[in-house]
């Protein structure tokens, strides 16, 4: 390799001082995120890093569940990554969403399915997409709400995943409307019950508020 100056010994090779750090961070991110396509993801990572956007990095390493042998699609961690990247915008362009989706090496069909569910146009509201993603993750309404709470909460992990009541009610009512099977009165009653509990907890809804209700039909 032609070098600007003649070098005579190995000691003359100069390494940029930031390089080791960058490499380390990148490696750690890669290890945590475990992308299927490392190159694609690495490109996304560095472009986001250079632009100063939130990085497509999972915060916790997610052990793949035994049930998902094949390259499964959306996982809660990935959804969280997407949320991290896209929630500041509020309403996102579909193209951008697709791009981000691709960066995480997620299957496109899943995205298409989600978008079809929601009947979205060019601009989509991120919260709704999030809700739909949660519904993909969880089988029932309540489990999707659980996922949503865990993704949206600002509390540290493991603690009570608290979500403001407004957000919760919005997501719940949206999903209930999408679902179509649940009558509105029941939704109202459920939300009302939750609201009472939330009022005692400074307006925040806790996981245990709606999970420990076995009497509910759904």
């Amino acid at each position: 390799m032609p070098l600007p100056e003649t070098m005579f010994c190995a000691q003359q090779i100069k390494i940029p001082p930031e390089l080791p750090d960058i490499l380390k961070q990148f490696t750690k991110a890669a290890i945590r995120t475990q992308p299927h396509d490392v190159l694609q993801w690495a490109a996304a990572y560095f472009s986001a890093l250079s632009k100063g956007e939130p990085l497509p990095v999972k915060e916790r390493i997610e052990m793949p569940l035994a049930a998902e042998k094949t390259d499964a699609g959306l996982t809660p961690g990935l959804l969280k990554v997407l949320h991290k990247q896209l929630s500041p915008k509020g309403t996102v362009n579909v193209a951008e969403l697709k791009e981000k989706w691709k960066h995480l090496c997620l299957p496109e069909e899943q995205l298409k399915a989600i978008l079809q569910l929601g009947d979205f146009g060019e601009e989509v509201e991120w919260m709704k997409v999030l809700a739909l993603g949660c519904s993909v993750l969880g089988g029932s309404l309540l489990s999707s709400m659980k996922h949503a709470c865990e993704i949206l909460t600002r509390d540290p992990e493991g603690g009570a995943a608290r979500v403001p009541f407004e957000t919760f009610s919005f997501l719940y009512s949206y999903l209930a409307s999408i679902d179509g099977e649940i009558p509105e009165e029941k939704t109202e009653a459920f939300l009302h019950g939750i609201k009472e509990q939330a009022d005692q907890q400074t307006g925040m809804v806790l996981l245990r508020n709606f999970l420990t209700q076995p009497s509910r039909p759904f």
């Binding site: 390799m1 070098m7 190995a10 090779i13 080791p20 490499l23 992990e157 493991g158």
Partner: protein
Amino acid sequence: MLPARQPEKEEVAAAPAVPYTYCSRPRALPARPKYRAARDAAELEKEPIRYANLMYDRRVVRGNTYALQVVPVSTQPSPLEIQRQREARKRALARKRAKEQMQPRTPEPVEGREHVHVQTELYLEEISDRIIEVDTECQTDAFLDRPPTPFFIPAKTGKDVATQIEEGELFDFDVEVKPILEVLIGKTVEQALLEVMEEEELAQLWARQRAYAELRNAELAEVQRLEEQDRRYREEKERRKLQHMQMLQKQKETTEKIAAWAFAQRYLADLIPSVFNNLRESGFFYDPIERDIETEFLPWLMTEVEETLERKVLGRTMLDSLIRTVVEKRLDAFSRKPLSDQTEAPAEESRPTDAPHQVVGETDAADQPVAEKEETDQPVPEEQPSRHISFRLEESDPAGTEDLETE
């Protein structure tokens, strides 16, 4: 004192030899005699030497010496002493002046000039007579016998060969960089892995801890709620019990009250009739007319009747007295004729039983019925108490006379 001591010292020294000898032996001080003995007297007579007690020695200072202040006998010097001091001072001054004058001096400055002390040097120098001396020495090198030997350079053997380094031969980047890269990348990956693992572990621990804390909070909340509930139940129970007790108490009181009321009623049922009976018997319920009649009319009637009767009685008494007087007069008249009045004497003798002897002494004319009445009144009350009422007869004279007339 020492020479006198010597014989004693020797005496003591003659005793068993002591390993230590004094330069001057410690000795007890003898007492100082009060009066000075004559000089030759001490040699001539050898009195027994008396040793004094240190405590009673006048030469020893008593008390604390640190605060001992020597106070002069008088705080102010006496005028004699003052004068002496003054003279001493004067003498000293005079001596000083004389000394000064004796000293050689520089002549006084000429007119228009002035002597001034000047310092010529930069630094102060001590002027002294002694000259400063410094020793120095010098030594030459020893002479060398022979010059130094030159270096040994061996003769040249062998062949001269030259070589030239081309560019790129010394240093191959890829080869050289490999170990660096290996280290760099390897270490990076290894470090990254380690760090990720550590972070993961930590995060999991924290997550677990928080989850546990959540559960615990939930349980605590549940426990608190149950406790609250329990407390409320207990309080409710207590309140109900209290209420019931109060009710029972009230009931009891009510029954007691009723019983008491019934009993009292029954007990006092007779009370009213008996009371009324008693009152009626004691005369509280009176017919006012009847009472009026009883209280006023009847007494008045009685008094009237009494008056009437008294008047009657009075009339009778008057009549009696009249008859008596008449009879007495007749008796008198007839006593002069004693034979003819013997039949009327027993009638008169029966009369004086009515009237006392006094009447006999005060026989006035019957024309004055008032006076006689008075007289008769006086003896009458004395005789019979029923005639006390006759005092009233004075007032009701006209009525009495009228009654007399009517009768």
